[in-house]
């Protein structure tokens, strides 16, 4: 007999157990206290246990819920948008807003299946200029603009 596993449900259940266990481990060093005088660890530990058990029950149910495959994930947009956000986070403190914005737009542009090179380059320059003007010049947000070497 082959198991008819609902994979999305099982993946979600595994996530619940993992995050519950992680939180429980982190909260285990906190004082629990009593119901009348709860310590900082009382509610987090309780919730972590509930999440773990809930996840385990969902997971068990998913094993027999009938087969369902994980829906297709569009990897190209996911990876490229993740990359552009990561680039922003990594670059901003050193390269400043102008260069970081340029990089984000160019990188994110390729997330679309119908990207056009010239158009994307023009858009990147325009948006970089616009964001420096709007966020730093007009709104006065304290963001470094130029590269800080």
């Amino acid at each position: 007999m082959t198991l008819k596993i609902n994979i999305p449900d099982l993946a979600f259940a595994a996530f619940l157990v993992a995050i519950g266990a992680f939180a429980f481990a982190l909260a285990s060093e906190l004082t629990v206290g009593t119901a009348a005088a709860m310590g900082p660890g009382y509610v987090p530990r309780g919730l972590a246990i509930v999440v773990m058990i809930y996840g385990a029950v969902l997971g068990l149910r998913a094993m027999f819920a009938g087969h369902a495959a994980l829906p297709d994930i569009a990897w190209r947009p996911l990876i490229l948008i993740s990359a552009s956000v990561a680039l922003f986070a990594a670059m901003l403190p050193y390269a400043g807003l102008a260069l970081s914005s340029l990089t984000v737009v160019i990188c994110a542009g390729f997330a679309s299946y119908d990207v056009r090179l010239h158009e994307n380059a023009v858009l990147a320059v325009a948006l970089a200029a616009f964001s420096v003007l709007l966020f730093v010049t007009v709104l006065g947000l304290p963001i470094p603009v130029r590269p800080q070497w």
């Binding site: 900082p40 919730l47 969902l58």
Partner: protein, 499 residues
């Protein structure tokens, strides 16, 4: 305290040039994102939150509220002209609105949508103004156990009304509550689950979480789907509906407004639910239900009135009790807290300018929208022709800058990335992020009230059922959950969400 004096206070605040300006900007941005499919109001509010933090509290809330109800207006334009709902709340407007457009009656459909929205906006502003005062008296009777039970009810409502499997929505609420607890414990000062990361001392940032789940994740998913926008080449010959059409619409508008005003207040309710309910009621009560789906003008008027009314009255629980009823209101709570305003009944008495100013601005915003929207429809249509590949890189960039500027640290940008990827995972496994964000916001509040209640009752949990208001609220939560698992309701619910 009487209504006129209160509203006068409000208008004095809302009519200052600066606040009028912010109201206008909010309504304009709201309409813009409402028109564009693929950018939800919750995404926009999440992205724009950080930029409002430099404004005074009243101005910031006025602008955010403007985005919210502006989006309800804008969504209908796309629904009618393109048959693509700009927002989930205008899905039903597509049914008859687009049919009207195909029959060459796009003008009257757009006009009626705007008029119905304005009518509902006016009435629901009055509803908020009149209902808020007694609601806040009720709130004065609330103590820790009542607040806890009310939040339980709010979260239950979010579960019941979440799309997809309710058992996953419950899990999302629980995870939200758990992650909401990260940071320094207010009672003891002990850092909790921070992994010794200094940036987590104040908890996981609310803005990065919201932008990750609603901005990043939505983009990554939308880009994976084919984009098609077949713009109907409509001729906007005459904008004005005939006298006959107006006569047909008036009762529908009134019913829609009533339904929206009631459903908006319910926990988990809001604009989308209201528009579905109003459309169903019109269809059921019509003399000739077969006209619906073929361009019945009531089928535009009622849901448009209802979604605007529902959008606005969902502010009532937020403004009077400090409890968000849906995910967008949860973002508003976050905005208020970052502004240093603790949401709750005391806002009305301690900061009447803020409270009544926001309410008065809603009416002004609605007025601006009707003046703005009808003449500018041509512009909105032109915007719809801008390809998505030119818009989304800008959104990615604004997500990054917005996240960074809340705390001026790239740590938050990494958190945003993490929650963005998690958000994609949630959607792919069929778990809605909206219950998560409600749990996340309410987590610390619930724990505080739970601990206080248990402390006062010396560890006796029966305190939650011994006090009548608390017991009623809990009983309502249980009733909601019981109804949800009844097979008949379960089937019906699936039907409703399928539409």
């Amino acid at each position: 305290m009487d209504l006129i004096a209160n509203l006068a206070t409000g208008f004095a605040v809302a009519l200052t040039p600066a606040n009028l300006g912010f109201c206008f900007i909010g309504a304009l941005i709201g309409t813009l994102v409402g028109v564009l499919p693929g950018i939800a109001p919750i995404t926009t509010i999440a992205i724009l939150l950080p930029f409002t933090f430099t404004l005074p509290p009243a101005s910031s809330l006025i602008m955010l509220a403007g985005i919210f109800y502006g989006a309800q207006y804008g969504g209908s334009t796309t629904a009618i002209l393109v048959n693509v709902p700009g927002e989930s709340s205008s899905i039903v407007t597509c049914l008859d609105g687009h049919q009207m457009a195909k029959q060459g009656r796009a003008g009257p459909a757009l006009a009626i949508a705007a008029i119905a929205s304005f009518f509902a906006g006016t009435v629901s502003t009055l509803v908020i103004a009149t209902a808020s005062v007694p609601m806040s008296w009720l709130a004065l009777k609330f103590n820790a156990p009542e607040y806890f039970s009310l939040m339980v009810l709010g979260l239950t409502g979010a579960v019941v009304l979440a799309h997809g499997a309710p058992e996953k929505a419950v899990a999302m609420v629980l995870v939200g509550l758990l992650l909401g607890l990260v940071g320094i414990d207010v009672n003891t000062g002990a850092p909790r689950m921070t992994m010794d990361i200094a940036e987590l001392g104040d908890g996981i940032g609310f803005v990065p979480v919201a932008i990750g789940l609603f901005g990043f994740a939505e983009l990554a998913i939308a880009l994976g789907q084919p984009q098609d926008r077949n713009l109907l080449s409509v001729k906007l010959s005459s904008l004005w509906p005939s006298r006959e059409e107006i006569r047909q619409c008036i009762p529908a508008m009134i019913r829609g407004t009533a339904i929206g005003s009631v459903l908006g207040v319910l926990p988990g309710g809001g604009a989308a639910l209201s528009s579905f309910a109003a459309y169903a009621v019109e269809k059921k009560s019509a003399r000739d239900p077969s006209r619906f789906g073929r361009g019945a003008i009531e089928g535009v008027a009622a849901p448009e009135a209802a979604n605007n009314a529902g959008a606005q009255t969902s502010f009532i629980p937020l403004l009077t009790l400090g409890i968000p009823g849906n995910a967008i209101m949860a973002l508003m709570v976050g905005a208020m807290m970052i502004q240093g305003v603790q949401p709750g009944p005391q806002v009305m008495t301690a900061q009447p300018q803020l409270f009544w100013g926001v309410i008065a601005s809603m009416w002004l915003g609605n007025l601006m929208l009707i003046v703005l929207n009808l003449p500018m429809i041509g512009l909105w249509v032109a915007l719809l022709r801008v390809p998505y590949r030119l818009m989304f890189p800008a959104i990615v960039l604004f997500c990054c800058i917005g996240t960074y500027s809340t705390g001026n640290t790239v740590f938050d940008v990494w958190v945003m990335l993490l929650f963005g990827v998690l958000g994609v995972f949630f959607v792919k496994v069929g778990a809605e992020p909206a219950p998560f964000i409600l749990g996340f916001i309410l987590g610390p509040l619930m724990e505080e009230n739970f601990r206080r209640a248990m402390y006062l009752s010396r560890g006796d949990a029966t305190v939650f059922v011994e006090r009548p208001i608390s017991a009623t609220l809990l009983a309502m939560s249980v009733a909601l959950l019981v109804i949800l698992v009844l097979p008949a309701v379960k089937r019906k619910r699936e039907e409703v969400f399928k539409e």
